[in-house]
Amino acid sequence: MLEIKNLTVSIDGRPILDDLNLTVRDGEVAAIMGPNGTGKSTLSYVIAGRKDYTVEAGEILLDGVDLLGLEPDVRAARGVFLAFQYPLEIPGVATMTFLKAALNAQRKQRGEEELSTPELMKRVKAGAEKLEIKPDMLKRALNVGFSGGEKKRMDILQMALLEPTLAILDETDSGLDIDALRVVAAGVNALRSPKRSFLIITHYQRLLDYIVPDTVHVMAKGRIAKTGGADLALELEKSGYRDYVADAA
């Protein structure tokens, strides 16, 4: 379970998150929607452990443990996964080498045995097939020369292999055509489980047609302005964010 309590965050002295409170239960799929510049991506980065931000107050508890003092890799080993809005290209690092290094680094951190290469290959192959990732892509350098859709699918493959307890999807729909969106959404839906929570950050309701959330939170001016069910997203699609921006102010 993710519990964010009274989180206040700034960057270069400029406040971004303001006394934010949010709870995502085990197995819950929570969507966070909101206009540009309200701190949605900041929230995802702060949970994942990016250092550019200053946490002024509050705590982020995952299963009762405060993540804030932990390095990003330790958070990852504790179950945090961030699917990036724009997954990075890493020239010179073969995709398979990277997947093996990531998986084994997390296992090592948790005191588990390293995966053998054949076992890893088996898992990667099975995951790749489901996400329509061609074997050729696995031989190339990570994300280098991949299309937007291919990069997103590669991120979801990583999520499937790393089996996080909290998966954060930051604007996963951006840059995806309808077909790619369907594949990615199917990949995410296949990973829904009573033990795994999702935090889905998006501008548009469209993604939520494919990944139907349990709860929808509207974020405005650095805090949660309203919480509701899946129908709240449909409502927002009609009315826009104007009311919330005004309310929060």
Partner: protein, 448 residues
């Protein structure tokens, strides 16, 4: 009236003059070779050790860096060669040629593969074949450099490899440099590689264990029309107080494919200079290298690429990883002669600066006399990409591991791009070895 100024001699220059006089009677070769040695030494001595006011040596001031001249290495003893033979037993595949302290050791070397003639420099100088002597003298191109002249004066030995026209040599020819000297010694090797028209071959030069304290090596390469030649040099066996100068003079015929890759890892002061000239038309010449530096190491790569033939493509890419207080130098000069129309030249240097104490000096130069050419150069200096580091960390890699993975990727991608799988794997292993040692031990060192 004023008398010409004679610069005051440094201790090292005086010691080199003494060493030359003492060694000359014992150095190999007949009267022609002796004459070459004397002229070359005069050229060196008149100019003295190159210093910061000599443009090509501005960033590697040898007069300041070379405080003493180590005595010439003696011929290795039978015992030390026997010990070396055992250690060499499990070396990598290919035709192995062993040079110990500048001297070719036939009994540790393999016979030449089919289509190849291999001789020691000493025997070539003694036999006095005019074409080979002229090639070895390299007077027309590259020979003007004073350090190349010093090498010609003191050359103890080396290997002369002649690949017959049309010969396809599948396994690499591997020159292995070793040293048995316990005290600081100097060695001067000069080798030549002559690739006949239409032939193809691969030459690997590598260090085996620690090297002599001061080495001045020169390799002269001549590639005939339509030949393909790959050259790989790996310089990894130098101590922190060593001085190493490596010169390569390359002349390419027409429709040639020539590739050279150099790895510099560990060493006090390293200067690698390459003089490459496109004599013929429509050839491709690729020069590349990776320098991995830490402590107070200093590595200088200086290129002179001359385009004289039409339609040739030159590619020069050099990468540096600099840590602690290391200093990197890249100087690349491309000249395009009036007749060399349709030249396509691209030069790039990329440096990763891992600490505030490092320095990188980049000096690209283009000198173009033809009017229909495409030439460009670029240089980058910077740290690792923080976004990439964060991305890898969010996948579970601790910071140090993420950093090592990115460094390996930076340094090794040229290896993957340019070399065959087996050679690439050998070099990648050396890069990984350097990276894993990084930070593991203090690397403070003194300049020679």
């Amino acid at each position: 009236m004023s008398a010409p100024m004679t610069p005051p001699r440094t201790l090292a220059e005086a010691a080199l003059a003494e060493a030359f006089d003492a060694a000359l009677p014992g150095l190999p070769g007949g009267p022609d070779a002796r004459k070459l040695r004397e002229t070359s030494f005069s050229k060196f001595y008149d100019a003295g050790l190159p210093h910061r006011r000599i443009e090509a040596w501005h960033y590697t001031d040898l007069r300041a860096l070379m405080r003493t001249a180590a005595p010439l290495a003696e011929a290795p003893s039978a015992d030390s060669l026997a010990a070396l033979r055992e250690k060499l037993a499990a070396s990598a595949p290919g035709c192995r040629l062993v040079v110990v302290d500048g001297v070719f050791v036939a009994q540790l070397s393999d016979p030449a593969p089919e289509g190849v003639v291999i001789q020691s420099l000493a025997s070539v100088l003694a036999a006095g074949r005019p074409d080979l002597i002229a090639l070895l003298a390299a007077q027309e191109f590259g020979g003007a450099d004073t350090i190349v002249s010093l090498n010609a004066a003191l050359m103890q030995d080396g290997v002369v490899i002649e690949v017959a026209p049309g010969a396809v040599v599948a396994e690499p020819i591997r020159i292995i440099y070793a040293s048995t000297a316990c005290e600081p010694r100097a060695s001067y090797a000069r080798s030549a590689l002559i690739v006949g028209a239409g032939a193809s071959m691969r030459l690997i030069e590598e260090d085996f264990g620690a090297q002599a304290a001061q080495t001045n090596r020169c390799l002269i390469v001549s590639v005939g029309d339509e030949a393909a030649c790959d050259h790989i040099v790996s310089m990894t066996g130098m101590g922190r107080s060593s001085l190493r100068i490596e010169s390569m003079i390359v002349r390419l015929g027409a429709r040639v494919k020539f590739k050279s890759f150099g790895l510099i890892g560990d060493g006090g002061v390293v200067r690698r200079q390459i003089f490459m000239r496109f004599d013929g038309a429509d050839s491709e010449g690729t020069l590349s290298g990776v320098s991995l530096l830490r402590g107070r190491e200093h590595a200088d790569t200086t290129l002179l690429v001359e385009h004289a033939g039409t339609g040739c493509a030159g590619r020069e890419t050099f990468k540096y990883v600099l840590d602690e207080e290391a200093v990197g130098v890249f100087q690349g000069k491309i000249t395009v002669e009036k007749e060399a129309q349709k030249t396509d030249g691209r030069m790039m240097s990329k440096a990763l600066l891992l600490s505030d104490g490092v320095a990188m000096n980049n000096k690209p130069e283009l000198e173009i006399f033809a009017d229909d050419v495409a030439c460009g150069h670029g240089a980058t200096c910077g740290g690792l990409d923080e976004n990439q580091l964060f991305y890898l960390q969010t996948r579970g890699l601790p910071f140090a591991e993420a950093e090592a993975l990115l460094l390996e990727a930076f340094a090794a991608d040229l290896v993957d791009e340019l070399l065959d799988e087996a050679t690439g794997a050998e070099l990648r292993e050396k890069i990984v070895c350097w990276l894993s040692a990084r930070g593991a031990a203090p690397a403070a060192g003194d300049a020679p």
